[in-house]
């Protein structure tokens, strides 16, 4: 079952085309890695899926909510107001982990995690806190609930950010280079969380430079260059027998 579908998506900043004719779909429970050089549009693509950026043309569907701009700017029942509402609905179904995390510095770990369920989903406070405690345990941070973000290490912050997204019960998780800022010895603890989530059937899309992780854990790998998807395939295909010469050149960088 396709939980995410992107079709013919274009995005430009001023005159610069960041995304060109992006099409792919993701099935429920899949773990997708997006790889490519810096500036190829990976992060922008994630931000478009999460509706943090609007796109100029194309089609996006997350779960049962669609934004259709195939025939131009506004389409069918997608008036400006409707777009804002749908964008917000999509964001509730998609969790996003930012490169610099953006934990809320004025709130404790527990408040960071439980705020959105209380405010957005109107969950009762007790239930939200109970769930937050459960998630903290899950990411291995039991006992840290009353700390403030500045009292956490990089890896711990990362896991709190993941727990904060999971608290909203998303159907898809997006990660923007989740391990690039971590000390090497901390990378494992974050990746393990994602592997656990994969086992539980969470749909995840990861923009990453960690090739060994992409290779060993992904169901599918998307290779992007200059705002285009060059190739989509299984790790074995992308790393073992890529069909496009540009992919060949890129993966060769990681073979030595």
């Amino acid at each position: 079952m396709e939980i995410l579908k992107v079709e013919g998506l274009y995005k430009r900043f001023e005159t610069f085309e960041v995304l060109k004719n992006i099409s792919f779909s993701v099935k429920k429970g899949e773990l997708i890695s997006i790889i490519g050089r810096s500036g190829c549009g990976k992060t922008t693509l994630l931000r478009c899926i999460n509706c943090l950026e609007s796109f100029d043309k194309g089609y996006l569907r997350v779960s049962d909510i669609e934004i259709d701009k195939r025939n131009g700017i506004v389409n069918r029942n997608n008036g400006e107001k409707e777009l804002v509402i749908r964008a917000q609905k999509i964001r509730q179904k998609v969790g996003m982990l930012f490169q610099n995390l953006n934990l809320f510095p004025h709130l404790t770990v527990l408040e960071n995690i439980s705020l959105a369920p209380i405010v957005v989903k109107k969950e009762p406070k007790e239930k939200a806190i109970e769930n937050a405690m459960y998630l903290l345990e899950k990411v291995g941070l039991k006992g840290y609930e009353n700390r403030y973000p500045y009292q956490l290490s990089g890896g711990q912050s990362q896991r709190v950010a993941i727990a904060r997204s999971l608290a909203m019960n998303p159907e898809i998780m997006l990660y923007d280079e989740p391990t690039s800022a971590l000390d090497p010895e901390l990378v494992g603890e974050v990746l393990n969380v994602m592997i656990d989530l994969h086992k539980e059937g969470m749909t995840q899309i990861i923009v990453t430079h960690a090739m060994s992780f992409a290779k060993s854990c992904s169901d599918l790998i998307i290779y992007m260059e200059n705002g285009e998807i060059i190739e989509i395939g299984s790790p074995e295909k992308i790393f073992g027998n890529p069909s496009d010469p540009r992919t060949v050149e890129y993966v060769r960088l990681f073979k030595e």
């Binding site: 930012f98 705020l115 959105a116 971590l182």
Partner: protein, 509 residues
């Protein structure tokens, strides 16, 4: 056409109301500036909360004749006539000279006192005895007074004008001017308690004081003139003036009463005795201790006023800042216009507009409310800008993280951006509060009696600007000190947190 009729009807109602009010006058609301010095209207040197003066006695005598109560309304001297038309009181009596210019704005009763201008010099100066001796010299006078006009008309005199006579006398003592020309009552009282000054020369010019009232209040004018007639004929006016040592040859001519004086100047003596001979340090200290309750009460008013104004500024400023940042094109433009206008015009003018101009469109605020509104709305513009810088100091990612958790923009601002911005702006906002505390001294122009006003009143009664000035300064300092501390505390805490965060960020980025 309908509107015209409505307007006509309303005017009629207003006129009728006024008329009815004057007809059954129960309370005579009279205004003066209690810092206008002896002998006009001033604070009792022994009991600072009492207002005394020969004009107080005259008002009381008039009220007694008319069988009404009196109610004193403190008002800045410059604002006495605008205040009449604001409707805060019905008459103004405060050494107001009857001039053609003033007669265009208000009606005057017949004079209750006629006097002249008097030259005052430093003791030992023997080369000044007349106007002619002043040519080529620097001479002081009160702004817009008859004395100033006489000096200018003479020609060749370097005239310096002053807001208060004490400033002129101090300047003379310091050698900046060589003589001062003032209304005789001022000269009599000032030289009596400051023996280093003496009156010299013949009386100069003639000046008549009258009671001012609104142009429309003709019935009240008639009543006041009747009362003055009575005071003159019964000898009551002469008695009052003699008690204050103000009976002079001009009043003899005016009232055609050349009989021997038989009333001792006991009120004059009371003043001279209580104000002079206080040069001894310990006596001064006892005097200051006596003032303290009055000063403390005024300090509390200043503090309360400032806190309320700041609360308004904080809330209104926040609304303006949010409108400017998130309000969309038109609203945000409006917010900018508000901020620019408020920051680009003097607070003093804004206060005048709120207090004296708003009543003409039907909004009449009490001095206290006008002061809070004026200060609060002024500071709101500054706070809005402080908030804006606070908002911009929050990284963009905070908003994005909140939104990607499904929050609406409003929720993100309320739960994520605002709490962080508030912590950033606490130190600058606290600093602003301290300057508001000091700016609050401006509201004395709209008749609020706060710390600076009380300072002026007491200083002008005792001709002591130094000692009382230091007391006032210390009080302002004490009021502001706790808030300076608060600002420091939050500044320190913020820098510590920033360092910690940078340490962590340094680790991951």
């Amino acid at each position: 056409m309908k509107k015209a009729w409505l307007f006509f009807a309303m005017t009629l109602v207003l006129l009728f109301n006024n008329f009815a009010f004057s007809n059954e006058l129960k309370v005579l609301r009279w205004a003066a500036d209690a810092e206008s010095n002896a002998p006009y209207i001033f604070q009792d040197p022994k009991i600072p909360s009492n207002i005394i003066g020969f004009e107080v006695d005259i008002v009381n005598a008039i009220a007694q004749y008319l069988g009404v109560e009196t109610q004193f309304v403190q008002n800045q001297w410059d604002g006495l006539i605008p205040g009449l038309y604001r409707g805060d009181y019905d008459i103004a009596i405060n050494g107001l000279e009857i001039t053609e210019d003033r007669k265009k704005e208000v009606n005057f009763t017949k004079p209750y006192y006629v006097t002249h201008e008097q030259l005052v010099v430093l003791k030992g100066v023997n080369y000044i005895n007349s106007l002619a001796d002043l040519v080529g010299r620097k001479v002081g006078a009160l702004k817009n007074s008859l004395a100033e006009r006489i000096l200018r008309a003479k020609g060749g005199i370097n005239v310096l004008t002053y807001e208060g006579e004490v400033n002129a006398f101090v300047d003379m003592k310091n050698g900046r001017i060589e003589a001062v020309l003032v209304d005789a009552p001022i000269a009599i009282y000032y030289t009596a308690v400051n023996p280093e000054f003496v009156m010299v020369g013949q009386p100069i010019g003639e000046i008549s004081y009258g009671i001012a009232l609104r142009k429309g209040d003709t019935l009240l004018l008639k009543k006041l003139n009747l009362a003055l007639d009575h005071l003159q004929k019964s000898g009551k006016l002469r008695e009052i003036l003699e008690e204050w040592n103000l009976w002079n040859f001009m009043m003899e001519t005016y009232l055609n009463d050349f009989s021997q004086s038989n009333v001792p100047p006991k009120k004059y003596q009371y003043f001279v005795e209580s104000v002079s001979k206080k040069s001894e340090f310990s006596e001064r200290i006892t005097l200051y201790i006596k003032f303290l309750p009055v000063f403390l009460k005024a300090a509390l008013i200043t503090l309360g006023l400032s806190i309320l104004a700041m609360m308004l500024a904080i809330v209104a400023g926040l609304i303006i800042a949010l409108t400017r940042i998130y309000g969309g094109k038109i609203l945000s433009k409006l917010a900018v216009v508000y901020i620019e206008i408020i920051r680009g015009t003097p607070l003093l003018i804004q206060l005048y507009l709120i207090f004296y101009a708003l009543p003409s469109i039907g909004v009449k605020l009490s001095p206290f409310l006008a002061a809070i509104l004026g200060l609060g709305l002024n500071y709101a513009a500054y706070e809005a800008e402080v908030y804006r810088s606070g908002f911009f100091a929050i990284p963009r990612g905070q908003m994005e993280a909140a939104i990607s958790l499904g929050m609406t923009k409003a929720q993100a601002v309320w739960y994520i951006i605002l709490p962080q911005a508030v912590r950033i702006v606490i130190p600058p906002v606290t600093n602003d509060f301290i300057s508001l505390l000091k700016d609050s001294s401006l509201v004395s122009v709209i008749t609020m009696i706060e710390l600076t006003k009380v300072y002026n009143q007491i200083a002008s009664t005792y001709y002591d600007y130094l000692g009382t000035g230091i007391i006032t300064a210390i009080l302002y300092l004490l009021l502001g000190l706790p808030f300076i501390r608060i600002a420091r505390y939050f500044e320190r805490r913020l820098t510590i947190e920033k360092k910690e965060t940078q340490k962590i960020e340094g680790k991951i980025v």
